[in-house]
Amino acid sequence: MRWYIPYGNPTYFIWLAVALIPLMIGLLYGRRFRWYQTVVSLFFLILTFGGPNWRTGIALICYFVYQVLLVSAYFHYRRRKDSPNKGWVFVLSVILAIPPLVVVKVTPAIQSGKQSIIGFLGISYITFKVVQTIMETRDGFIKEYHPIIFAQFLLFFPTISSGPIDRYRRFVSDYEAVPAQKDYLDLVQTGVRYIFLGFLYKFVLAYYFGSVLMPQMQFGAMMAHGFSWYIIGYMYTYSMDLFFDFAGYSLFAVGISYFMGIKTPMNFNHPFKSKNIKDFWNRWHMTLSFWFRDYIFMRLVFFMMKHKVFKSRITTANVCYIINMLIMGFWHGETWFYILYGLLHGCALVVNDTWLRYKKKHQDKIPHNKFTELFAIFITFNFVCFTFLIFSGFLNTLFFGPSKF
């Protein structure tokens, strides 16, 4: 028996192909074999969380039971006809959903890099799903809730380790239905294309940038004392590796979801074509940034407007941008470089909004043409790469790491 990181190597895909064929034949002829889908999901979860990783498997089970109970309890509270829908119950539920993630993120920071024993691959993404479901339950958007289907949603294996982050209502409507034959064939066709594009991204391009070029840059930068051009080289190769690796992974996750008749949302949409930083966050790791937008940024804005914390709407938005991105930074991990990364993006969003307002006011004086657009793309790209350099933590190793004996 061998154990796999999802989509980590070609053998995993052979397993996938074999396991999915019966399910796909069923879907093609209008049936969803739910029990079979559950068995397949369990099998792939065991491939990832079993064997040498069994401890994380135990952590996953405990965490999962806890969250399902929590969401069920909150839904039960909200479903009562005369539900008072108290704010504090809601806040308490959200707060109760988060501590495991906080512990997992904080442990390495206070225990010199040691991983928490309650952690497992993908804990963040499940937490996002839980919080999202609680919030939509509070708002009354989720009218029907079934613990088993919620469990299927949380543990949907194609996306378990790193997203994309689906939404409960969207997932349920796919899961409960069977697509028409023609639509399903279209899904499969797109899925095949995504998976093969993913091969190109992850196993060719990310390999080239991450495993061939990056070590050379790293070595050069480590050997030079202080600043060197290798750091710039590292910046671009790391950015490319990050994109192709993650986008490749996301393509696999979406493609496999399509095979299962679930239209998991896309995660990337040509992010390096972005003309400004807001555009970038609409194209980069989209399910995460939309999650932050909907459940942190928007809620913060509403909260502040309701309580009139700031007079001006602009200040409110700016403060919320910074808080939103800082939380994203903290979510990545409790290190200076993740937090700085979040802060920089928060500030960039503020600067971007300010500039767009200024530009709108002075439309007659500020040119807008193909060239300025290219220039905007150039600036955005380089800014993003620079923040990725910080995000990579390489500067930390380079400047504050142990001396190179």
């Binding site: 093609l28 034959q181 064939l185 095949v192 093969f196």
Partner: protein, 430 residues
């Protein structure tokens, strides 16, 4: 009907691509495309790249020309004007070193490297640099072994193995490394070989299939991936040498260059190495090697594999035994008595089996500017070596007569310490 057509449109290209892939990687025709340009050979010979070590095609084509395998480890990366590759280039020798080995490559790695070039070593010459530091109690580091591990060399060897003591011991050692377990069917095959059994026909079928795929990968790709190219380093170093080869003159120059490059410390350790790796830790390193011993190690058994393979190939080998920088050795407390015993033990293993070409430099650790750092030869060290290497490779040598003694594979020999009775051992051991 329409569904079938759609399905074929969707999955047909994948099936076709898979078929094409099998056709390409199982095709026997790639073997015919074995031309490797002299430039690639030259670059590969001094690249020190693990890819070259693990591959086959490039080594084979270079050794069929005037390249001679120089087996060893990290010393080959110490380029200076007196490095064997530089001297051979500068003075237009009839041979060119093909450097095999880098940091952490030891006897077991070299044994498998030899599997890729056995045909090219038959009745030819080779140079083998034996580092005392290989012979540590744990032997070759499994991680280093994995780093240089080549599945192609393993399948090549399995196809040729005859169940001899050498083959069984190699299988046994390979199984102790994580690499030996990386492929379940191969590891089952190794277990049978180690137990003295023939691989099953299914295992051989699989080995042959893997061999074909790996061989084709090597035939197709190896020419295009020599990442490190030391040609410029060699040319730059050669430029520092005078036009004609005159030993006294060169020795003087070597001393001057050595003095120039080691003026930052009292150990005659190269400045770069000193500043980067030792300067900041020198206090902590005092006496740190006082308990180190190179006498008891599984490496002796692995080394026997190498000797056995040389004997099988009738390769005439010059062994080089380097010294340790004596100033550094004294400072770190490495026992000179132990080093002497190491020299005695390794020389015994060589001579008693008929390996008589030994360039034993173990006494030269105190010669000025002989070493470039703590354990690697430099300037005058390289030059002194050249006094043996050059005549050995350029002049006709008598064919060697090797007498392989299986008892050198034994635990008893590997663990033989300072109180070992060499005379008694030979008589009992047979």
């Amino acid at each position: 009907m329409k569904v079938k057509k759609r399905l074929f449109e969707i999955f047909g290209p994948i099936l076709f691509a898979a078929l094409l892939m099998f056709a390409v990687f199982l095709s026997p025709t790639w073997i015919k495309f074995s031309y490797v340009s002299p430039k690639v050979q030259r670059n590969a010979a001094a690249s020190l790249s693990p890819l070259i070590l693990k591959g086959q095609l490039i080594k084979r084509s270079a050794l069929e020309n005037n390249y001679v395998p120089f087996f060893g480890s990290s010393e080959w990366s110490r380029f200076d004007p007196f490095h064997p590759s530089v001297l051979a280039t500068k003075y237009h020798r009839s041979y060119r070193p093909f450097l095999l080995g880098a940091r952490g490559s030891q006897s077991l790695t070299q044994f498998f490297v030899m599997q890729s070039i056995n045909q090219q070593m038959k009745n030819k010459k080779a140079v083998f640099f034996v580092s005392p530091q290989w012979f540590v109690p744990m032997g070759e580091d499994p991680n280093a072994f994995s780093f240089y591990y080549s599945p192609l060399q393993t399948t090549t060897w399995i196809q040729q193995e005859k169940g001899s003591k050498m083959d069984r011991y190699a299988a046994y050692r390979l199984l102790q490394m994580p690499s030996g377990d990386s492929d379940k069917i191969i590891s089952g095959t190794l277990a049978r070989i180690a137990a003295g059994l023939k691989p099953t026909s299914f295992q051989m079928l699989y080995v042959n299939y893997r061999h074909r795929v790996l061989l084709n990968e090597d035939q197709i790709y190896s020419r295009f991936r020599i990442p490190v190219n030391n040609a410029k380093k060699i040319a730059d170093n050669a430029a520092e040498l005078p036009k004609t080869y005159h030993f006294q003159q060169l020795d003087k120059l070597a001393g001057q260059l050595g003095a120039q490059h080691t003026n930052s410390n009292r150990f005659q350790i190269g400045n770069r190495f000193w500043n980067r790796r030792l300067k900041h830790h020198v206090k902590a390193l005092k006496g740190f090697q006082s308990n180190m011993s190179f006498l008891k190690s599984p490496e002796y058994g692995d080394f026997q594999l190498v000797l056995n393979q040389f004997a099988k190939d009738h390769t005439n080998v010059l062994f080089i035994i380097p010294p340790v920088n004596q100033r550094w050795q004294k400072y770190t407390g490495l026992s000179s008595e132990m080093l002497k015993q190491f020299d005695q033990k390794i020389t015994y293993q060589l001579r008693s089996q008929g390996f008589n070409h030994i360039d034993d430099l173990s006494q030269d650790g105190n010669v000025n500017y002989f070493m470039t750092d703590t354990i690697h030869p430099g300037w005058r060290g390289w030059l002194k070596m050249d006094q043996e290497i050059n005549p050995f490779l350029t002049k006709k040598q008598k064919a060697p007569h090797y007498r392989i003694d299986k008892s050198f594979y034994s635990k008893e020999w590997q663990q033989a310490g300072s109180d070992f009775d060499y005379d008694g051992y030979r008589n009992d051991g047979r």
